[in-house]
Symmetry: C2
DNA sequence: TACCTGTGAATTGCATGCAAAGAGACACTG
DNA sequence: CAGTGTCTCTTTGCATGCAATTCACAGGTA
Protein backbone atom coordinates (compact mmCIF):
# COMPACT_ATOMS: atom_id res chain seq x y z
CA UNK A 1 0.00 0.00 0.00
CA UNK A 2 1.73 3.12 -1.21
CA UNK A 3 2.08 6.01 1.17
CA UNK A 4 2.66 9.27 -0.52
CA UNK A 5 2.87 11.80 2.27
CA UNK A 6 6.45 12.88 2.54
CA UNK A 7 7.09 14.26 6.00
CA UNK A 8 4.26 12.50 7.72
CA UNK A 9 6.09 12.93 10.95
CA UNK A 10 8.78 15.53 11.24
CA UNK A 11 12.20 14.16 12.19
CA UNK A 12 12.02 14.79 15.90
CA UNK A 13 9.84 16.82 18.15
CA UNK A 14 7.93 19.95 17.28
CA UNK A 15 4.76 18.78 15.84
CA UNK A 16 2.92 19.49 12.66
CA UNK A 17 4.43 21.27 9.73
CA UNK A 18 2.23 24.29 9.93
CA UNK A 19 2.27 25.90 13.32
CA UNK A 20 0.33 28.87 14.48
CA UNK A 21 2.39 31.98 15.01
CA UNK A 22 2.05 32.38 18.77
CA UNK A 23 5.06 30.41 19.91
CA UNK A 24 4.26 27.16 21.59
CA UNK A 25 5.12 27.07 25.26
CA UNK A 26 7.27 24.06 26.15
CA UNK A 27 9.87 26.35 27.71
CA UNK A 28 12.06 23.66 29.22
CA UNK A 29 11.45 21.24 26.43
CA UNK A 30 12.84 17.97 27.64
CA UNK A 31 11.66 16.11 24.62
CA UNK A 32 8.74 14.42 26.33
CA UNK A 33 5.59 15.84 24.88
CA UNK A 34 3.24 14.18 27.33
CA UNK A 35 5.24 15.31 30.36
CA UNK A 36 5.47 18.85 29.07
CA UNK A 37 1.75 18.93 28.45
CA UNK A 38 1.06 17.61 31.92
CA UNK A 39 3.32 20.12 33.61
CA UNK A 40 2.10 23.10 31.64
CA UNK A 41 -1.59 22.37 32.00
CA UNK A 42 -1.15 21.70 35.69
CA UNK A 43 0.66 25.01 36.13
CA UNK A 44 -2.06 26.87 34.32
CA UNK A 45 -4.67 25.37 36.61
CA UNK A 46 -2.79 25.98 39.84
CA UNK A 47 -1.89 29.53 38.88
CA UNK A 48 -5.52 30.26 38.19
CA UNK A 49 -5.06 30.95 34.49
CA UNK A 50 -7.67 28.27 33.93
CA UNK A 51 -10.38 28.93 36.43
CA UNK A 52 -12.70 26.42 38.02
CA UNK A 53 -15.39 25.14 35.71
CA UNK A 54 -13.57 26.15 32.54
CA UNK A 55 -13.55 23.57 29.78
CA UNK A 56 -10.18 22.31 28.59
CA UNK A 57 -10.33 21.62 24.87
CA UNK A 58 -7.83 19.09 23.61
CA UNK A 59 -7.34 20.89 20.34
CA UNK A 60 -6.76 24.29 21.83
CA UNK A 61 -4.33 22.95 24.44
CA UNK A 62 -2.44 20.93 21.85
CA UNK A 63 -1.97 23.96 19.68
CA UNK A 64 -0.95 26.30 22.47
CA UNK A 65 1.56 23.82 23.85
CA UNK A 66 2.89 22.82 20.48
CA UNK A 67 2.17 19.09 20.47
CA UNK A 68 -0.56 16.91 19.03
CA UNK A 69 -3.72 15.93 20.81
CA UNK A 70 -2.40 12.53 21.86
CA UNK A 71 0.00 13.66 24.58
CA UNK A 72 -2.53 16.27 25.68
CA UNK A 73 -5.08 13.53 26.19
CA UNK A 74 -2.58 11.60 28.26
CA UNK A 75 -1.89 14.64 30.41
CA UNK A 76 -5.59 15.25 30.91
CA UNK A 77 -6.15 11.66 32.01
CA UNK A 78 -3.36 12.03 34.53
CA UNK A 79 -4.84 15.24 35.89
CA UNK A 80 -8.18 13.48 36.08
CA UNK A 81 -6.69 10.72 38.19
CA UNK A 82 -5.22 13.36 40.48
CA UNK A 83 -8.56 15.05 40.87
CA UNK A 84 -7.55 18.41 39.43
CA UNK A 85 -10.00 18.11 36.55
CA UNK A 86 -13.21 16.26 35.84
CA UNK A 87 -13.71 14.13 32.77
CA UNK A 88 -17.09 13.52 31.13
CA UNK A 89 -17.32 10.98 28.35
CA UNK A 90 -17.66 12.54 24.94
CA UNK A 91 -17.96 15.99 26.47
CA UNK A 92 -14.49 16.79 27.61
CA UNK A 93 -12.58 17.87 30.65
CA UNK A 94 -13.20 20.79 32.94
CA UNK A 95 -11.26 22.29 35.79
CA UNK A 96 -12.51 20.95 39.07
CA UNK A 97 -14.43 23.38 41.24
CA UNK A 98 -13.81 23.36 44.97
CA UNK A 99 -16.10 24.15 47.83
CA UNK A 100 -15.63 24.78 51.51
CA UNK A 101 -16.78 21.23 52.05
CA UNK A 102 -13.83 19.99 50.01
CA UNK A 103 -11.52 22.12 52.08
CA UNK A 104 -12.95 20.60 55.24
CA UNK A 105 -12.60 17.09 53.89
CA UNK A 106 -9.00 17.70 53.05
CA UNK A 107 -8.03 19.33 56.29
CA UNK A 108 -9.78 16.78 58.42
CA UNK A 109 -7.88 14.09 56.56
CA UNK A 110 -4.61 15.96 56.99
CA UNK A 111 -5.39 16.41 60.66
CA UNK A 112 -5.41 12.65 61.01
CA UNK A 113 -2.64 11.64 58.65
CA UNK A 114 0.05 14.24 59.22
CA UNK A 115 0.19 13.94 63.00
CA UNK A 116 0.37 10.21 62.65
CA UNK A 117 3.16 10.49 60.09
CA UNK A 118 4.97 12.87 62.37
CA UNK A 119 4.74 10.36 65.19
CA UNK A 120 6.18 7.69 62.93
CA UNK A 121 9.01 9.98 61.86
CA UNK A 122 9.87 10.62 65.50
CA UNK A 123 9.75 6.91 66.19
CA UNK A 124 11.94 5.73 63.34
CA UNK A 125 14.35 8.56 64.08
CA UNK A 126 15.69 8.56 60.54
CA UNK A 127 14.92 12.19 59.82
CA UNK A 128 17.63 14.69 58.94
CA UNK A 129 16.92 17.19 61.69
CA UNK A 130 19.52 19.66 60.47
CA UNK A 131 18.03 19.88 57.01
CA UNK A 132 14.60 20.31 58.51
CA UNK A 133 15.90 23.05 60.79
CA UNK A 134 17.48 24.80 57.82
CA UNK A 135 14.14 24.82 56.05
CA UNK A 136 12.42 26.28 59.08
CA UNK A 137 14.99 29.07 59.30
CA UNK A 138 14.79 29.78 55.61
CA UNK A 139 11.06 30.24 56.01
CA UNK A 140 11.69 32.78 58.76
CA UNK A 141 13.80 34.76 56.33
CA UNK A 142 11.21 34.65 53.58
CA UNK A 143 8.48 35.80 55.95
CA UNK A 144 10.07 38.19 58.41
CA UNK A 145 7.65 39.16 61.15
CA UNK A 146 4.88 37.14 59.58
CA UNK A 147 4.83 39.13 56.35
CA UNK A 148 5.86 36.98 53.39
CA UNK A 149 8.09 38.58 50.78
CA UNK A 150 7.60 35.74 48.32
CA UNK A 151 4.49 33.64 48.73
CA UNK A 152 5.54 31.13 46.10
CA UNK A 153 8.86 30.39 47.71
CA UNK A 154 7.25 30.19 51.12
CA UNK A 155 4.75 27.67 49.79
CA UNK A 156 7.50 25.64 48.19
CA UNK A 157 9.57 25.60 51.40
CA UNK A 158 6.53 24.62 53.42
CA UNK A 159 5.75 21.75 51.06
CA UNK A 160 9.31 20.51 51.34
CA UNK A 161 9.16 20.72 55.12
CA UNK A 162 6.04 18.62 55.36
CA UNK A 163 7.15 16.20 52.69
CA UNK A 164 10.44 15.62 54.45
CA UNK A 165 8.66 14.60 57.61
CA UNK A 166 6.27 12.28 55.84
CA UNK A 167 9.07 10.65 53.93
CA UNK A 168 10.81 9.91 57.21
CA UNK A 169 7.74 8.03 58.36
CA UNK A 170 8.89 4.98 56.40
CA UNK A 171 5.46 4.63 54.88
CA UNK A 172 5.65 5.72 51.28
CA UNK A 173 1.94 5.30 50.75
CA UNK A 174 1.23 7.74 53.53
CA UNK A 175 3.34 10.36 51.81
CA UNK A 176 1.66 9.61 48.51
CA UNK A 177 -1.82 9.82 49.90
CA UNK A 178 -1.21 13.12 51.63
CA UNK A 179 0.36 14.76 48.64
CA UNK A 180 -2.44 13.55 46.37
CA UNK A 181 -5.01 14.97 48.72
CA UNK A 182 -3.55 18.40 49.36
CA UNK A 183 -3.40 19.55 45.77
CA UNK A 184 -6.48 21.68 46.12
CA UNK A 185 -5.33 24.04 48.84
CA UNK A 186 -2.57 25.02 46.46
CA UNK A 187 -5.27 26.57 44.38
CA UNK A 188 -6.29 28.51 47.42
CA UNK A 189 -2.73 29.94 47.51
CA UNK A 190 -2.70 29.17 51.17
CA UNK A 191 -0.18 31.52 52.68
CA UNK A 192 -1.61 34.60 51.08
CA UNK A 193 -4.63 34.02 53.30
CA UNK A 194 -2.72 33.99 56.58
CA UNK A 195 -2.76 36.95 58.91
CA UNK A 196 0.70 37.96 60.16
CA UNK A 197 -0.17 36.52 63.57
CA UNK A 198 -1.26 33.23 62.09
CA UNK A 199 1.83 33.02 59.94
CA UNK A 200 4.11 33.73 62.87
CA UNK A 201 2.42 30.98 64.80
CA UNK A 202 2.77 28.61 61.87
CA UNK A 203 6.50 29.26 61.63
CA UNK A 204 6.85 28.78 65.37
CA UNK A 205 5.16 25.40 65.00
CA UNK A 206 7.81 24.42 62.52
CA UNK A 207 10.58 25.15 64.97
CA UNK A 208 8.73 23.27 67.65
CA UNK A 209 8.37 20.31 65.30
CA UNK A 210 12.11 20.33 64.73
CA UNK A 211 12.66 20.25 68.47
CA UNK A 212 10.16 17.45 69.01
CA UNK A 213 11.71 15.37 66.25
CA UNK A 214 15.22 16.06 67.51
CA UNK A 215 14.30 14.96 71.01
CA UNK A 216 12.83 12.63 69.69
CA UNK A 217 9.46 12.59 71.41
CA UNK A 218 6.70 10.99 69.32
CA UNK A 219 3.87 12.26 71.50
CA UNK A 220 5.17 15.79 71.36
CA UNK A 221 5.76 15.66 67.63
CA UNK A 222 2.33 14.26 66.92
CA UNK A 223 0.65 16.80 69.10
CA UNK A 224 2.43 19.81 67.63
CA UNK A 225 1.63 18.64 64.15
CA UNK A 226 -2.02 18.33 65.04
CA UNK A 227 -2.05 21.88 66.37
CA UNK A 228 -0.26 23.02 63.25
CA UNK A 229 -2.74 21.51 60.85
CA UNK A 230 -5.80 22.62 62.76
CA UNK A 231 -4.46 26.13 63.09
CA UNK A 232 -3.90 26.24 59.35
CA UNK A 233 -7.43 25.03 58.80
CA UNK A 234 -8.76 27.95 60.84
CA UNK A 235 -6.51 30.48 59.18
CA UNK A 236 -7.78 29.53 55.78
CA UNK A 237 -11.43 29.32 56.73
CA UNK A 238 -11.48 32.61 58.59
CA UNK A 239 -10.55 34.48 55.46
CA UNK A 240 -13.41 32.91 53.69
CA UNK A 241 -16.48 34.24 55.36
CA UNK A 242 -16.90 30.81 56.87
CA UNK A 243 -16.55 31.59 60.55
CA UNK A 244 -17.78 28.45 62.16
CA UNK A 245 -15.22 26.14 63.60
CA UNK A 246 -13.80 23.41 61.38
CA UNK A 247 -16.06 20.42 61.28
CA UNK A 248 -17.34 19.14 64.57
CA UNK A 249 -16.92 15.67 63.15
CA UNK A 250 -13.28 15.83 64.11
CA UNK A 251 -12.87 15.87 67.90
CA UNK A 252 -10.13 18.09 69.20
CA UNK A 253 -7.87 15.17 69.72
CA UNK A 254 -8.34 12.36 67.30
CA UNK A 255 -5.38 10.35 68.20
CA UNK A 256 -3.82 10.36 71.60
CA UNK A 257 -1.61 7.57 72.67
CA UNK A 258 -1.75 6.99 76.35
CA UNK A 259 0.93 7.55 78.90
CA UNK A 260 4.61 7.64 78.07
CA UNK A 261 6.11 10.53 80.00
CA UNK A 262 7.69 13.37 78.05
CA UNK A 263 11.34 12.49 77.62
CA UNK B 1 -9.53 14.97 -0.75
CA UNK B 2 -10.15 11.43 -1.92
CA UNK B 3 -9.98 8.66 0.59
CA UNK B 4 -9.81 5.25 -0.92
CA UNK B 5 -9.80 2.91 2.01
CA UNK B 6 -13.26 1.55 2.35
CA UNK B 7 -13.82 0.55 5.94
CA UNK B 8 -11.04 2.55 7.48
CA UNK B 9 -12.98 2.48 10.68
CA UNK B 10 -15.73 -0.02 10.97
CA UNK B 11 -19.13 1.56 11.57
CA UNK B 12 -19.18 1.09 15.31
CA UNK B 13 -17.05 -0.88 17.63
CA UNK B 14 -14.95 -3.89 16.86
CA UNK B 15 -11.70 -2.62 15.59
CA UNK B 16 -9.64 -3.35 12.53
CA UNK B 17 -10.90 -5.29 9.59
CA UNK B 18 -8.64 -8.27 10.03
CA UNK B 19 -8.93 -9.80 13.44
CA UNK B 20 -7.00 -12.71 14.86
CA UNK B 21 -9.01 -15.84 15.29
CA UNK B 22 -8.99 -16.12 19.07
CA UNK B 23 -12.07 -14.11 19.84
CA UNK B 24 -11.40 -10.80 21.46
CA UNK B 25 -12.59 -10.60 25.04
CA UNK B 26 -14.84 -7.59 25.66
CA UNK B 27 -17.55 -9.84 27.05
CA UNK B 28 -19.82 -7.11 28.34
CA UNK B 29 -18.98 -4.79 25.52
CA UNK B 30 -20.48 -1.50 26.49
CA UNK B 31 -19.03 0.26 23.51
CA UNK B 32 -16.26 2.02 25.37
CA UNK B 33 -12.98 0.59 24.26
CA UNK B 34 -10.87 2.35 26.86
CA UNK B 35 -13.13 1.29 29.73
CA UNK B 36 -13.25 -2.28 28.50
CA UNK B 37 -9.49 -2.38 28.22
CA UNK B 38 -9.12 -0.97 31.72
CA UNK B 39 -11.54 -3.43 33.25
CA UNK B 40 -10.16 -6.45 31.48
CA UNK B 41 -6.52 -5.72 32.17
CA UNK B 42 -7.30 -4.96 35.79
CA UNK B 43 -9.15 -8.24 36.14
CA UNK B 44 -6.28 -10.16 34.64
CA UNK B 45 -3.89 -8.61 37.12
CA UNK B 46 -6.07 -9.13 40.17
CA UNK B 47 -6.89 -12.69 39.22
CA UNK B 48 -3.23 -13.48 38.91
CA UNK B 49 -3.33 -14.25 35.18
CA UNK B 50 -0.66 -11.59 34.80
CA UNK B 51 1.80 -12.20 37.55
CA UNK B 52 3.96 -9.65 39.29
CA UNK B 53 6.86 -8.44 37.22
CA UNK B 54 5.34 -9.53 33.91
CA UNK B 55 5.57 -7.00 31.10
CA UNK B 56 2.34 -5.77 29.58
CA UNK B 57 2.83 -5.17 25.87
CA UNK B 58 0.47 -2.68 24.32
CA UNK B 59 0.30 -4.56 21.06
CA UNK B 60 -0.44 -7.91 22.61
CA UNK B 61 -3.09 -6.50 24.93
CA UNK B 62 -4.71 -4.56 22.11
CA UNK B 63 -5.00 -7.65 19.99
CA UNK B 64 -6.27 -9.90 22.75
CA UNK B 65 -8.89 -7.40 23.81
CA UNK B 66 -9.88 -6.50 20.31
CA UNK B 67 -9.19 -2.77 20.27
CA UNK B 68 -6.35 -0.62 19.02
CA UNK B 69 -3.35 0.41 21.05
CA UNK B 70 -4.76 3.84 21.88
CA UNK B 71 -7.40 2.77 24.42
CA UNK B 72 -4.98 0.20 25.80
CA UNK B 73 -2.47 2.96 26.47
CA UNK B 74 -5.14 4.93 28.24
CA UNK B 75 -6.04 1.95 30.40
CA UNK B 76 -2.41 1.35 31.26
CA UNK B 77 -1.93 4.97 32.30
CA UNK B 78 -4.95 4.66 34.56
CA UNK B 79 -3.61 1.50 36.14
CA UNK B 80 -0.29 3.26 36.61
CA UNK B 81 -1.97 6.07 38.49
CA UNK B 82 -3.65 3.50 40.71
CA UNK B 83 -0.37 1.81 41.46
CA UNK B 84 -1.26 -1.58 40.01
CA UNK B 85 1.45 -1.37 37.37
CA UNK B 86 4.73 0.46 36.91
CA UNK B 87 5.53 2.51 33.83
CA UNK B 88 9.05 3.05 32.50
CA UNK B 89 9.50 5.53 29.71
CA UNK B 90 10.15 3.88 26.37
CA UNK B 91 10.31 0.47 28.00
CA UNK B 92 6.75 -0.29 28.86
CA UNK B 93 4.57 -1.29 31.74
CA UNK B 94 4.96 -4.15 34.14
CA UNK B 95 2.76 -5.56 36.84
CA UNK B 96 3.70 -4.14 40.20
CA UNK B 97 5.38 -6.54 42.59
CA UNK B 98 4.39 -6.43 46.24
CA UNK B 99 6.35 -7.18 49.38
CA UNK B 100 5.52 -7.74 53.01
CA UNK B 101 6.61 -4.19 53.58
CA UNK B 102 3.90 -2.99 51.23
CA UNK B 103 1.37 -5.07 53.09
CA UNK B 104 2.48 -3.49 56.36
CA UNK B 105 2.25 0.00 54.89
CA UNK B 106 -1.24 -0.64 53.69
CA UNK B 107 -2.55 -2.20 56.84
CA UNK B 108 -1.03 0.41 59.09
CA UNK B 109 -2.73 3.06 56.97
CA UNK B 110 -6.01 1.19 57.10
CA UNK B 111 -5.64 0.83 60.85
CA UNK B 112 -5.65 4.60 61.11
CA UNK B 113 -8.16 5.53 58.44
CA UNK B 114 -10.88 2.94 58.77
CA UNK B 115 -11.42 3.34 62.52
CA UNK B 116 -11.57 7.07 62.05
CA UNK B 117 -14.06 6.72 59.21
CA UNK B 118 -16.11 4.37 61.34
CA UNK B 119 -16.20 6.95 64.12
CA UNK B 120 -17.38 9.57 61.66
CA UNK B 121 -20.06 7.25 60.34
CA UNK B 122 -21.31 6.69 63.87
CA UNK B 123 -21.27 10.42 64.49
CA UNK B 124 -23.15 11.51 61.40
CA UNK B 125 -25.61 8.69 61.96
CA UNK B 126 -26.58 8.59 58.30
CA UNK B 127 -25.73 4.96 57.74
CA UNK B 128 -28.33 2.43 56.66
CA UNK B 129 -27.92 -0.01 59.52
CA UNK B 130 -30.36 -2.52 58.11
CA UNK B 131 -28.52 -2.82 54.82
CA UNK B 132 -25.26 -3.21 56.70
CA UNK B 133 -26.80 -5.89 58.88
CA UNK B 134 -28.06 -7.71 55.82
CA UNK B 135 -24.54 -7.77 54.40
CA UNK B 136 -23.15 -9.15 57.63
CA UNK B 137 -25.72 -11.94 57.66
CA UNK B 138 -25.14 -12.74 54.02
CA UNK B 139 -21.47 -13.19 54.82
CA UNK B 140 -22.39 -15.65 57.56
CA UNK B 141 -24.24 -17.69 54.97
CA UNK B 142 -21.37 -17.66 52.51
CA UNK B 143 -18.90 -18.73 55.18
CA UNK B 144 -20.74 -21.06 57.53
CA UNK B 145 -18.63 -21.95 60.52
CA UNK B 146 -15.70 -19.93 59.21
CA UNK B 147 -15.32 -22.03 56.04
CA UNK B 148 -16.03 -19.95 52.95
CA UNK B 149 -17.97 -21.62 50.17
CA UNK B 150 -17.23 -18.86 47.69
CA UNK B 151 -14.18 -16.73 48.39
CA UNK B 152 -14.93 -14.30 45.60
CA UNK B 153 -18.41 -13.54 46.82
CA UNK B 154 -17.17 -13.25 50.37
CA UNK B 155 -14.56 -10.75 49.25
CA UNK B 156 -17.13 -8.76 47.33
CA UNK B 157 -19.52 -8.66 50.29
CA UNK B 158 -16.72 -7.61 52.60
CA UNK B 159 -15.71 -4.81 50.26
CA UNK B 160 -19.26 -3.56 50.15
CA UNK B 161 -19.52 -3.69 53.91
CA UNK B 162 -16.44 -1.56 54.42
CA UNK B 163 -17.27 0.79 51.60
CA UNK B 164 -20.71 1.40 52.97
CA UNK B 165 -19.26 2.50 56.29
CA UNK B 166 -16.71 4.80 54.70
CA UNK B 167 -19.30 6.38 52.47
CA UNK B 168 -21.37 7.19 55.53
CA UNK B 169 -18.44 9.12 56.95
CA UNK B 170 -19.38 12.12 54.82
CA UNK B 171 -15.79 12.44 53.65
CA UNK B 172 -15.61 11.26 50.08
CA UNK B 173 -11.85 11.68 49.94
CA UNK B 174 -11.45 9.31 52.84
CA UNK B 175 -13.37 6.63 50.96
CA UNK B 176 -11.36 7.30 47.83
CA UNK B 177 -8.04 7.14 49.60
CA UNK B 178 -8.82 3.88 51.35
CA UNK B 179 -10.06 2.17 48.25
CA UNK B 180 -7.04 3.31 46.27
CA UNK B 181 -4.74 1.97 48.91
CA UNK B 182 -6.27 -1.44 49.48
CA UNK B 183 -6.04 -2.66 45.92
CA UNK B 184 -3.04 -4.79 46.65
CA UNK B 185 -4.47 -7.08 49.30
CA UNK B 186 -6.96 -8.12 46.66
CA UNK B 187 -4.04 -9.71 44.91
CA UNK B 188 -3.34 -11.57 48.09
CA UNK B 189 -6.88 -12.99 47.85
CA UNK B 190 -7.30 -12.16 51.46
CA UNK B 191 -9.96 -14.49 52.73
CA UNK B 192 -8.35 -17.57 51.36
CA UNK B 193 -5.60 -16.94 53.89
CA UNK B 194 -7.84 -16.85 56.94
CA UNK B 195 -8.04 -19.76 59.34
CA UNK B 196 -11.62 -20.75 60.25
CA UNK B 197 -11.11 -19.22 63.69
CA UNK B 198 -9.87 -15.96 62.24
CA UNK B 199 -12.71 -15.82 59.77
CA UNK B 200 -15.30 -16.47 62.47
CA UNK B 201 -13.81 -13.66 64.49
CA UNK B 202 -13.86 -11.37 61.49
CA UNK B 203 -17.53 -12.05 60.88
CA UNK B 204 -18.28 -11.47 64.55
CA UNK B 205 -16.57 -8.09 64.28
CA UNK B 206 -18.94 -7.18 61.49
CA UNK B 207 -21.95 -7.87 63.66
CA UNK B 208 -20.40 -5.90 66.48
CA UNK B 209 -19.82 -3.01 64.11
CA UNK B 210 -23.46 -3.05 63.14
CA UNK B 211 -24.39 -2.87 66.79
CA UNK B 212 -21.98 -0.05 67.51
CA UNK B 213 -23.23 1.95 64.57
CA UNK B 214 -26.85 1.29 65.47
CA UNK B 215 -26.30 2.47 69.02
CA UNK B 216 -24.71 4.78 67.79
CA UNK B 217 -21.52 4.89 69.85
CA UNK B 218 -18.57 6.42 68.01
CA UNK B 219 -15.98 5.22 70.52
CA UNK B 220 -17.24 1.69 70.34
CA UNK B 221 -17.46 1.71 66.58
CA UNK B 222 -13.98 3.11 66.19
CA UNK B 223 -12.52 0.63 68.58
CA UNK B 224 -14.13 -2.42 67.02
CA UNK B 225 -12.97 -1.34 63.62
CA UNK B 226 -9.44 -1.00 64.88
CA UNK B 227 -9.54 -4.50 66.29
CA UNK B 228 -11.01 -5.74 63.05
CA UNK B 229 -8.27 -4.28 60.87
CA UNK B 230 -5.43 -5.32 63.12
CA UNK B 231 -6.81 -8.84 63.39
CA UNK B 232 -6.96 -9.03 59.63
CA UNK B 233 -3.39 -7.84 59.41
CA UNK B 234 -2.28 -10.68 61.67
CA UNK B 235 -4.32 -13.27 59.83
CA UNK B 236 -2.72 -12.41 56.56
CA UNK B 237 0.80 -12.16 57.87
CA UNK B 238 0.66 -15.40 59.82
CA UNK B 239 0.07 -17.33 56.65
CA UNK B 240 3.12 -15.82 55.16
CA UNK B 241 5.97 -17.14 57.21
CA UNK B 242 6.22 -13.69 58.70
CA UNK B 243 5.43 -14.42 62.31
CA UNK B 244 6.48 -11.22 63.98
CA UNK B 245 3.79 -8.85 65.03
CA UNK B 246 2.67 -6.18 62.60
CA UNK B 247 4.95 -3.20 62.70
CA UNK B 248 5.73 -1.82 66.13
CA UNK B 249 5.45 1.62 64.57
CA UNK B 250 1.73 1.44 65.10
CA UNK B 251 0.89 1.47 68.80
CA UNK B 252 -1.97 -0.76 69.80
CA UNK B 253 -4.27 2.17 70.00
CA UNK B 254 -3.52 4.95 67.63
CA UNK B 255 -6.54 7.00 68.17
CA UNK B 256 -8.46 7.05 71.38
CA UNK B 257 -10.76 9.87 72.15
CA UNK B 258 -11.05 10.53 75.80
CA UNK B 259 -14.02 9.99 78.06
CA UNK B 260 -17.58 9.74 76.88
CA UNK B 261 -19.23 6.85 78.68
CA UNK B 262 -20.49 3.93 76.62
CA UNK B 263 -24.09 4.68 75.79
C1' DT C 1 -46.62 28.75 24.27
C1' DA C 2 -44.80 24.17 24.92
C1' DC C 3 -42.82 20.18 22.78
C1' DC C 4 -40.62 17.53 19.38
C1' DT C 5 -37.46 16.93 15.62
C1' DG C 6 -33.80 17.49 12.60
C1' DT C 7 -29.73 19.70 11.02
C1' DG C 8 -25.05 21.53 11.49
C1' DA C 9 -20.92 22.65 13.98
C1' DA C 10 -17.71 21.60 17.48
C1' DT C 11 -15.38 18.09 19.93
C1' DT C 12 -14.02 13.70 21.66
C1' DG C 13 -12.93 8.56 20.73
C1' DC C 14 -10.23 5.56 18.39
C1' DA C 15 -7.27 3.23 14.64
C1' DT C 16 -3.24 3.61 12.28
C1' DG C 17 1.60 4.53 10.58
C1' DC C 18 6.08 6.54 11.04
C1' DA C 19 10.02 7.78 14.03
C1' DA C 20 12.83 7.06 17.98
C1' DA C 21 14.45 4.56 22.02
C1' DG C 22 16.04 0.22 24.11
C1' DA C 23 17.68 -4.70 24.31
C1' DG C 24 20.25 -8.29 22.62
C1' DA C 25 23.50 -10.42 19.35
C1' DC C 26 27.83 -10.28 17.40
C1' DA C 27 32.08 -8.84 15.68
C1' DC C 28 36.16 -5.98 16.53
C1' DT C 29 39.83 -3.97 19.40
C1' DG C 30 43.04 -3.26 23.12
C1' DC D 1 38.89 -11.74 28.04
C1' DA D 2 36.54 -7.52 29.04
C1' DG D 3 34.96 -3.52 26.77
C1' DT D 4 32.89 -1.16 22.81
C1' DG D 5 30.70 -0.10 18.47
C1' DT D 6 27.09 -1.34 15.29
C1' DC D 7 23.21 -3.74 13.55
C1' DT D 8 18.71 -5.55 14.01
C1' DC D 9 14.45 -6.28 16.12
C1' DT D 10 10.94 -5.08 19.31
C1' DT D 11 8.21 -1.79 21.46
C1' DT D 12 6.81 2.64 22.80
C1' DG D 13 5.80 7.76 21.62
C1' DC D 14 3.32 10.71 18.94
C1' DA D 15 0.76 12.94 14.83
C1' DT D 16 -3.07 12.52 12.16
C1' DG D 17 -7.76 11.51 10.05
C1' DC D 18 -12.25 9.44 10.14
C1' DA D 19 -16.34 8.15 12.91
C1' DA D 20 -19.44 9.04 16.60
C1' DT D 21 -21.43 11.91 20.09
C1' DT D 22 -23.19 16.08 21.90
C1' DC D 23 -25.20 20.64 21.87
C1' DA D 24 -27.33 24.65 20.18
C1' DC D 25 -30.67 26.29 17.45
C1' DA D 26 -34.17 26.58 13.94
C1' DG D 27 -38.56 25.02 12.24
C1' DG D 28 -42.74 22.27 12.47
C1' DT D 29 -46.86 20.50 15.15
C1' DA D 30 -50.37 20.42 18.71
Amino acid sequence: MPWREIAYNLPCCYGPGIMSDHTPLREADNGHAADDAYRLIREQILSGQRSAGAWLREGELAESIGVSRTPVREALRRLTAEGLVRHERNRGVQVQAWSIHDLDEIFSLRAVLEPWGCRLAATTGTIDVDALDALAHRMDEVAPDGRPTDVDELTELNNRFHRMILEASDNSRLAGVVSSVIQMPLVWRTFSRYSPDALRRSLAHHHELVAALAAPDPDWAESVMRSHVRAAWHSIRLRDGGDRAPGPELPDQVSTTAGQPPL
